[in-house]
Subunit: 392 residues, 4 copies
């Protein structure tokens, strides 16, 4: 039977794509070597810099975010290079596995999946590396599997404190355009992101923002690469073109997305996500459940991962909720599989959509017979009422 | 500043158009005299009969619903004809004014705008008309200005009880495809409807479903008409064509709308609307406010009109709610202007959208400082949880 | 079997709708009483004036062009009024029939369907009407059934020469935004048009541009009217609103259409149509066939009606052409049924589309075994090459 | 100034995307881990097999065709492997450069860029490789830079004749779904293709069709790989899912594209392209110009590369044509830069679009003052008339 009304896509990405962007990506394809394309490309390449808060090069790949991870590594590293990574959760672990597949030697600072990366541990680790054999420090900014946010500026400071020359690489695939991110100011060397989260686009684009230091490293790095090679990108990019056929229609959408983000104002976008994160956590507390991220100040405005009580299945709950309330929630991944569900509250989103989302969770908890207190929706509404931003 | 997320269009029509229909109406125009069009037209003309539950002709006009009202009158009546109408609310009153403008003599049974038409009063009125000078009885099925539903089958019975030969004309502009309607079974002679409510289309089409008796009346009726004349329509309609250029793209959408309604199942569609009406009224009661329709069994599943406390402005409330929560609510019209607001819960709609809608109202009441109790959203959720339909 | 590639919709309207407009009309419906709508409506109502070249009111109906004809008549005339019309072709004849249906007394100056209206005959006719019983002169600007264009400024002069006070009403349904039209400058009282021709929109909107004299006539005219009554329109129109639910999504498209016309420049649009008309006629001459319009200077840039040789069927030719070359051509209507076919070259159209269209005709003539010389396409190309406009 | 009418995108890919596909890709994103997605994915993964004419695995990447090339190589080869490639033109050369970048040792059989790969030369070359050190033979099926088609079945036979165990890898990025291709029947081990040519989609997807032998080679091949690794793909693909976020909206489009190709019938699609190639070449001959591909039987139905006379600039001609006739033609690449232009006649294309395209070229030649005879368009029309396929 057809389900009436809108589906609520409340996974932590892909996020729902606004109609305006969907219409943009349905534009007719144009000649990627012709003069009209140059304008589209230049607008995208310049525009995306304002989102990464960088004056430096940002390259755009037709690929998933996974491709962006690989690109970051192969462009600046050489076989056997030691790399320091931090286990913030499932996606940090995946990035590490990719590093291993590519012939690098990642070293993993273990984490409990309940918060962001710890600058102190990173500083201590690097301080031990007297010979500066570690070539890169890789941190996930917004860990999509847990809802924990790493303090990127503090990690930068930690590296500096250790006096370590390693490149600093950050994955903000699910953080960009939802949580403040400052590629230049924070001294990040390579930032990885994707299209389908805060940028409100369908999946299919990934990004690398590149510092001068990283670009220099590219010249000597010997990991095998072709598709991902920045060196081939930056020349054509100067005039708005690409070395191979770009994903034209997603670039149409990207230009509109950037325009929409600036129409709202980036700082307003960040405040909106933060406030929705607070409201979601208020609901979780009211239900008597626990938020996976337990480090204060590191809870994400992008998603809220919720732990289900011992003996209950988060996946059965999600299936029930999808069936009865037509809402998709994110699943728990690897270590927390079936133990948590994730509520996405990112992208093109507002107060009433959040209430609907939390209502879907609350009614789903009842339907799936997961013990909880009522009143989560009410608690979130109270928070929203008490914190509404004037401008909104 | 751009408002993020989806606008909630919760007026009682136009209702939000599903993406599938928006995409259909964005199809390229075709030759309205060519063979491909004949299939589109025939599908629309046959399909719409299943929604009116009729085997008889339904004509489709490129016009607003207002045009459908005019068409119904001019096709079967002659200058100076007496017509019995019932004051269910603003739209019944508008229809009466049109009748006056067209040179008819409408007689109005006064109503209190808090329910549907009263069959007993109609029967009594007709019984007085010994000479059968009254040529038509006109009733609004779902009064969009009040949320009161008229018992159409009972009105039919009332006319029969009075032994009166008047034509029976019903406006179900906002009822069709949301509340059960049976043109043939209920013995209606002319049913008027429009595209932008339960049919989930943009505005721009109106409909007349026509009984054999009404079609016969067309031959002798002398009200001036050309654009609206059924006589010119029925011939070309037989093969799927129209006497003048039809609104091609809305017909594309109509075919998809009919398909979607049958995919869900008309009876499921009706049950869904009824249940959402109940939940909305539960919220209103919890707020300590009053629903305008006070006749039990006549409350609409399409919309809920809510009375604001004496001394408060419904329009200011609506403006506040639009500004702060990006939700459009319907205004009070003429007699109830500024005294009520109307919550639309019709068309392509589901449980979570209803919760979001009611949350917008509840938070808006607070923001606009209209005295009310909290807990309306919670009451609605409780009702939804306790009544969920298996199939949904 | 699916036919690959684009269908060529080369009837003289509806014309192919540009993607940009199709995307606009697929926007979500908004509250037609809310603040956002006021901007959409005001933009449309102001913008359309620039296309009619008028400073006066233009009303917009959700209706076909036929409705626009009816509106023009019922707003300014009274039952039994004498009206002078000119038989330019099928559509002039239809308008006359509508006048009759509405209780007017149209008088028809006969024409041969091979050109526009003759100002001299009109002047002579009016001069005879010493008592000024004729209340309106109705002329079709671009006769869609023949491709003959009436000299509107000259007709105005003819009326003035006759010293006659009749209202001057013009149908430019298929001329507007393709052929120069000046409502104010030419002293037209009511101009009728529609959305699906030069405005490049789907069908569903009609227009009346109204002079002050016509608006004054509205007050005393007694033809029955409600839906079409200008008096109800002009008030709400002042702030961008409508007295009944407008066809929101077509208004979105209208705003984009007006924007596109001005981006190209109206005078460029007119020159383009004129040049394409010349090229089409060059092709017809090369084929050794005859253009229906035989008055020099009155041939339309919108369409070219072509006479097929005696003993051949234009409709069979059109069916052959549609089947084999996926192109829709216009049929001959009433007096010229099956004797002519019509090539539309209007709206969003360019040189290569014209060549494709003429190639479809030329190859279709061969396929349908209609005697003709080859070389029509070549002749059109030669003309296009020799006349190309710098700016294009 | 806005140019009216449709742009003609007549480069040899991307080809114009049909509206039906554009509408499909504008559908809302869904959860790529949810049950609804599994159906979309399974339909795409099964459907694409029918286009490659294979029963074996086809993997789908979010990437350009360049990524598909890289994937083919890294999945089955090891550093330093010798690879035999054939210089059919620019794209064969690019593929060779990628092989070099990836650490392989490509050996290039030189070609004159005027036809497909030569099976005899390949057989002779392989016969010399007694120790079977050559691990793969790589051939471009439809060389997009020249319009030469390689006889793939004959190359297979050549490899077999030489008794050589090398893997056979074919790039049919611009041939698939336009020219017959049979992955299984022709014994190809890895076939590479992309979305933006015969598949009528925007760019953004690439494909590898994989034989059992190639899949076995994957297990032992040691080229560094992660994003492109087939081994991670085939598991999730079994149920319609992907190891990382797929390009959801392009998959929507792919499913529609496959449906459209089968509606037309693949053999009809091939015949259509072949016939259009013949007509284009007839035009070129009539102009007195030369087609770049001079091997009879190897001329492509996808594109026609045309040599401009000595002393004239193909690029200036293309710029003129774009400016005056709003048509994009393909440029000459590397060795033939500025010496040839390429006419794309692939994808969603029909007879009238071809005539329009050739008219753009013919009028552009005049405008750019490139010496040529008139009559190319006429010659193409004559060929189209004399060869029309009954079914079309």
């Amino acid at each position: 039977m057809r389900q009436a009304g809108r589906h609520f896509l409340q996974i932590p990405g892909p996020s729902s794509v606004p109609d305006r962007i969907l219409r943009a990506i349905s534009g007719q394809v144009i000649d990627h070597r012709g003069p009209a394309f140059g304008k589209v490309g230049a607008q995208a390449l310049e525009g995306i810099k304002t989102i990464f808060k960088t004056q430096q090069n940002v390259v755009i790949y037709p690929s998933s975010g996974t491709g962006g991870w690989e690109a970051a590594l192969v462009n600046v590293l050489s076989p056997g290079d030691r790399v320091l990574m931090f286990e913030t959760g499932h996606f940090a672990t995946l990035w590490k596995k990719i590093a291993e597949k590519l012939g690098l030697k990642p070293e993993f600072i273990e984490g409990d999946w309940r918060g962001g990366a710890d600058p102190d541990q990173i500083e201590a680790y690097l301080a031990e590396d007297k010979n500066h054999e570690i070539k890169a420090v890789c941190v996930v900014h917004n860990e999509t599997s847990t809802g924990g946010v790493s303090p990127i500026a503090a990690v930068r400071k930690a590296i500096d404190n250790a006096g370590h020359p390693a490149l600093f690489m950050v994955d903000t695939i699910s953080g960009l355009a939802s949580i403040d991110y400052q590629h230049d100011e924070w001294g990040v060397d390579v930032t990885v992101s994707g299209s389908q989260k805060g940028l409100m686009l369908p999946p299919g684009l990934s990004f690398n923002a590149i510092s001068a230091k990283a670009m220099a490293a590219n010249a000597s790095a010997t990991l095998q690469r072709s598709y991902w090679d920045w060196a081939d990108m930056v020349g054509p990019n100067k005039t708005g073109y690409f070395p191979y056929t770009p994903a034209t229609n997603l670039l149409y959408g990207l230009n509109v997305a950037i325009e929409m983000l600036h129409e709202e104002g980036l700082e307003n976008v960040f405040a909106r996500h933060a406030r929705h994160g607070m409201a979601a956590r208020a609901a979780v507390r009211a239900w008597g459940l626990e938020v996976l991220c337990n480090k204060q100040g590191q809870e994400s405005g992008v998603l809220t991962a919720v732990m289900v009580p011992e003996g209950h299945s988060a996946d059965r709950f999600r299936a029930t909720t999808l069936e009865h309330y037509d809402i998709s929630l994110g699943n728990g991944l690897s270590k927390v599989a079936d133990k948590v569900f994730r509520i996405g509250h990112l992208g093109d989103f507002n107060d009433l959509m959040l209430v609907a989302t939390l209502a879907g969770v609350e009614m789903g908890l009842t339907k799936a017979k997961i013990p909880h207190n009522a009143g989560g929706v009410g608690a979130a509404m109270a928070l929203l009422e008490s914190t509404q931003i004037a401008a909104e």
